[in-house]
């Protein structure tokens, strides 16, 4: 073995990795919050009885779920300027993540909505609630509760998927790693450390989502 490991070679560049972690976190938080919001609206549209809107959302979902994230990202960043929509790297990355998570979470949340017993909805109707009230007070929380583990996984997948945003020079964590190893040729050490950083971020994100789930769905201790 001629290769000598030198993790110390990364130390001078720690700021790049730190900035990368921050940017990846920003992308993930904005992408997750807006993406899940989009998913809730999409799921409502899919589950509603408005056929046109439901079909439009259906096309969006299938389009996104059946094409690669990288291509979606390139389309937004390199393709849209042809239509006069010029976005910064960060804007393009966050938009791609929102659109991507929006499609996947639409299907996940829709499954949760469909699992709400019809009797719940009829009871709400018989109490003179309108559609919006029924969705907001009766449907969405139990629906999210049912699919929270699946949704959490999808958010983690999107966070990890943000690594491809390095391809449009969004300066997230993988971008930082690529940059450092281009400077010092310490590919093993750099990607080893970055793998560890992603792992830690995933675990923290999962834990955070679990805590959020507990806050949203656990019973306030009344009894």
């Amino acid at each position: 073995m001629a290769y000598k490991f030198d993790f110390g070679a990364i130390v001078p560049h720690w700021q790049l990795l730190f900035d990368g972690v921050i940017l990846t976190t920003e992308l993930t938080v904005i992408g997750a919050v807006v993406g899940v919001g989009l998913g809730i609206m999409g799921a409502w549209a899919r589950a509603s009885r408005a056929p046109v809107i439901s079909q439009i959302v259906g096309v969006y979902v299938e389009l996104i779920r059946n094409t690669p994230f990288l291509v979606q990202l390139f389309f937004i960043f390199f393709g849209l300027p042809a239509l006069g929509v010029k976005l910064t790297e960060f804007q393009a990355a966050v938009l791609a993540m929102i659109v991507n998570l929006g499609a996947y979470s639409t299907e996940i949340i829709r499954a949760g909505i469909l699992a709400i017993p019809q009797g719940q909805i009829e009871a709400a109707q018989s109490l003179a609630m309108n559609r919006v009230q029924i969705f907001r007070y009766v449907v969405i929380l139990p629906a999210l509760k049912k699919i929270w583990p699946a949704l959490s996984s999808q958010i983690v997948i999107v966070m990890l998927g943000s690594s491809v945003c390095s391809q449009i020079a969004a300066e997230e964590l993988t971008f930082g790693a690529n940059y450092i190893q281009a400077l010092n040729f310490r590919a093993f050490e750099v990607y080893f450390v970055v793998t560890g950083l992603y792992l830690v971020m995933s675990i923290l994100l999962r834990m955070g989502l679990k805590v959020l789930g507990n806050f949203l769905f656990e019973r306030r201790r009344h009894v």
Binding site: L141, P142, K145, F217, V223
Partner: protein, 242 residues
């Protein structure tokens, strides 16, 4: 004028005509039982009265106002006509108290304090003052159904529809629910119930409506109907129960 009037109500599910021209009037304070075999259309009829089933033809008049199938009309209708279901249908993520408070707050825009006061009153009325902070899955079937009744009552409906409210209950829990319904009847609440509790119907109701194959086959006061059924179908139905 009757509180609720149904004229020539028709309803089909696909090819199957479930209601074949129903005329029925419900007077204020009246307690009506819909009886008949399963498939006779009694539950469907009940569900048309608050618009859970949209009718294909006919007229529904509530408190002098004709109800169309427009959303606004349906919401107005449901403010006047409450409903209790066989499966209770409590909202699992709310406590008993919150279940009862929800619609008064959200629909009637009552303040939290006002809604809470009414909800506590209603839950006390159904004998559950000590279970207000329990979630539905912490309550027995009979308790859940009483919460459901309190929830419907909190909206101060003029008519309460009861769709086989004891059919999903264990036998020992039936009476606690029937006692509440009986109390409501005695207080003058207008009630329309689909029920298989014939003895209860006989004791509590003013009017029995026997449905057969999508039509009102025979109707009258319970004593007469049970003692002297005029049609062989009712005789066989009543006889089959005895």
């Amino acid at each position: 004028m009757s509180l609720v009037e149904l004229h020539a109500i028709h309803k089909s599910f696909g090819e199957l005509e479930v209601l074949k021209g129903i005329d029925l009037s419900i007077d204020e304070g009246q307690v009506i039982a819909l009886i008949g075999k399963s498939g006779s259309g009694k539950s469907t009829l009940l569900r048309t009265i608050n618009g859970l089933e949209v009718i294909d033809d006919g007229v529904i008049i509530v408190d002098g106002k004709k109800i169309s199938d427009r959303d606004a009309d349906l919401l107005g209708l449901r403010l006047q006509v409450g409903m209790v279901f066989q499966q209770f249908n409590l909202f699992p993520h709310y406590t008993a108290l919150e279940n009862v408070m929800l619609s008064p707050q959200v629909v009637k825009k009552q303040s939290k304090a006002e809604a809470k006061q009414i909800a506590e009153e209603m839950l006390a009325k159904v004998g559950l003052a000590d279970k207000m902070m329990h979630y539905p899955d912490q309550l027995s079937g009979g308790q859940q159904q009483r919460v459901a009744i309190a929830r419907a009552l909190a909206m101060k409906p003029k008519v309460l529809l009861c769709d086989e409210v004891t059919s999903a209950l264990d036998p020992e829990l039936v009476n606690e629910v029937l006692a509440v319904v009986r109390q409501l009847a005695e207080e003058g609440m207008t009630l329309v119930m689909v029920t298989h509790e014939m003895r209860f119907a006989r004791e509590v109701c003013d009017k029995l409506v026997f449905m057969h194959q999508g039509r009102i086959h025979e109707t009258g006061d319970p004593e007469t109907v049970f003692a002297n059924p005029k049609t062989p179908e009712l005789a066989s139905f009543v006889g089959g129960l005895a």
